[in-house]
């Protein structure tokens, strides 16, 4: 690696002041599982690394009045072990578990996953399907953004070079919402998604209510399949309707062909995975309702 200076930030404010002092040649380091690869093989001439892996205010998982706040440097392993997340947003645990392997999950953070912003990121779909927001700290203080507005394109977010991601907040009304994350890769471990999907809904009087469908690895960023969501809302969760929803989602995605899979294959995967995730989510909802009655 070419030489650089490392500063250890004690908290997010300290990190921002270090970024301001050294922008634009400074970059944040969290778990390093993406950045170290980039420092070894990428072309960006970073001179200053701001290490947030010890920042005191970025590693909590907390229930607040607003919802569930997950600190940016919470690792994938932390997520898998969090009782609060298991209780309120278990799809995030499946997503975290699907990432790389143990070593990567022990270092890699949820914030780093979102900020690297590759279309196949596994943390993206479930959070997007739950309408998560992100808190950002810059020189002027804190601001809040819908997660969808963080994503700009492959490896590009809307953050300024002097801003950092502080936490990700899942709104209260979506905690406990039935949501299923499915990832299709070429192997179970150490494989990026060919397609990943998070889909969920509630059932009300036998009709689908508030369906949300998010897709990864099939467009320049993680996206919501809005046409498919609109189609399913208010319909019965019949096999035919769920298949049709999957078909519509496959149509509105824009997958590419690459060495891992062709665009056509990815479209087929979307249709199957969306229907499968919705079927599982609906089953979960029915069980919950049955339990409530009993």
């Amino acid at each position: 690696m070419r030489p650089f200076q490392v500063y250890v930030a004690k908290d997010s404010e300290h990190a921002v002041s270090l970024l301001c002092e050294h922008a634009p040649r400074a970059v944040i380091l969290a778990g390093g599982t993406d950045l170290l690869v980039d420092l070894k093989h990428g072309s960006k001439p970073w001179d200053v690394i701001v290490d947030i892996s010890r920042a005191e205010d970025l590693n909590a998982i907390t229930l607040t009045g607003e919802g569930l706040a997950i600190g940016a440097r919470v690792t994938h392993t932390d997520i898998m072990r969090s009782p609060v997340i298991r209780e309120s947003a278990p799809a995030l645990i499946d997503a975290a578990h699907s990432i790389g392997a143990v070593q990567t999950r022990n270092l890699g953070t949820i914030g780093g996953n979102l900020m690297t912003c590759v279309p196949s990121m596994d943390s993206g779909p479930a959070l997007l399907a739950l309408d998560a927001g992100v808190t950002i700290r810059g020189p002027e203080g804190l601001r809040r953004l819908p997660l969808a507005e963080l994503f700009v394109g492959p490896r590009k977010t809307s953050l300024a070079p002097t801003e950092i991601l502080v936490d990700i907040v899942i709104p209260k009304h979506n905690l406990g919402k039935p949501l299923v994350f499915l990832k299709f890769g070429l192997r179970k471990g150490q494989a990026l998604a060919l397609v990943n999907v998070a889909a969920g809904c509630r059932l009300n009087g036998g009709k689908v209510w508030e369906p949300t469908i998010a897709l990864g690895a099939v467009a320049p960023t993680v996206i919501r399949a809005q046409a498919a969501e609109a189609y399913l809302a208010g319909r019965a969760p019949s096999e035919q309707n769920l298949s049709e929803t999957g078909r519509i989602a496959a149509q509105e995605a824009k997958p590419i062909s690459d060495f891992r899979a062709s665009a056509d294959y990815r479209r087929d995967l979307i249709a199957v995975l969306v229907a499968r995730a919705l079927r599982q989510a609906c089953a979960g909802t029915e069980i919950e309702q049955a339990e409530m009655i009993a």
Binding site: L36, I49, D51, K188
Partner: protein
């Protein structure tokens, strides 16, 4: 240059290294602990696996400065001249390794697992070893060896009678 002090295998070690030094380089080049291997250098193969504060990590993806003040276990910390660690004993007994290049990483991943979960099922063992690529063995005997080591560590009878401590 950055001054670094870390605990390696129970011993406080210090070095002054350039900021861009990885934990793997620090262990191998400064401390001559060459058990952790340099394989892919990008987090894929797990040959560089060490245990940092109880968690298995790829030492090629961690800067030495990020390990400052932390507690590191490398393969050199497991055996001494008299006795093998039960994992090493079980790996030897099962013939779980061939060329052995992946071995230190595999054994440390298994140790991190058993330290937390003394009685893992096969699925949990496979999950724990998924980040350790082995080009020789096919993993079957490794999984058996981890199960055997777990039995030894739990104080239960071993499956194979040939297993002897040195």
């Amino acid at each position: 240059m950055t001054d670094i002090a870390i605990t390696v295998n129970g011993e406080l070690r210090k070095a002054s290294v350039p900021s861009e030094t990885t934990l793997l380089q620090l262990l191998r080049d400064n401390f001559q602990l060459t058990g952790a291997k340099l394989g892919c250098d990008v987090g894929d193969c797990g040959a560089c696996t060490v245990i940092v504060d109880g968690a298995a990590v790829n030492a090629c993806l961690m800067l030495a400065v990020q390990a400052e003040g932390r507690d590191i276990i490398t393969i050199e910390g497991l055996a001494n001249r008299q006795v093998f660690h039960p994992l090493q004993q079980a790996f030897e007994e099962s013939g779980a390794l061939q060329c052995g290049f992946c071995g230190p990483g595999v054994i440390l991943s298994a140790k991190a697992l058993l330290d937390e979960n003394p009685d893992p099922d096969v699925y949990e063992i496979r999950d724990a070893l998924a980040g350790n690529l082995c080009r020789c063995t096919g993993y079957t005997k490794m999984i058996e060896a981890v199960q055997n080591a777990a039995r030894i560590l739990r104080g239960e009878p071993e499956i194979s009678s040939r297993m002897i401590s040195r």
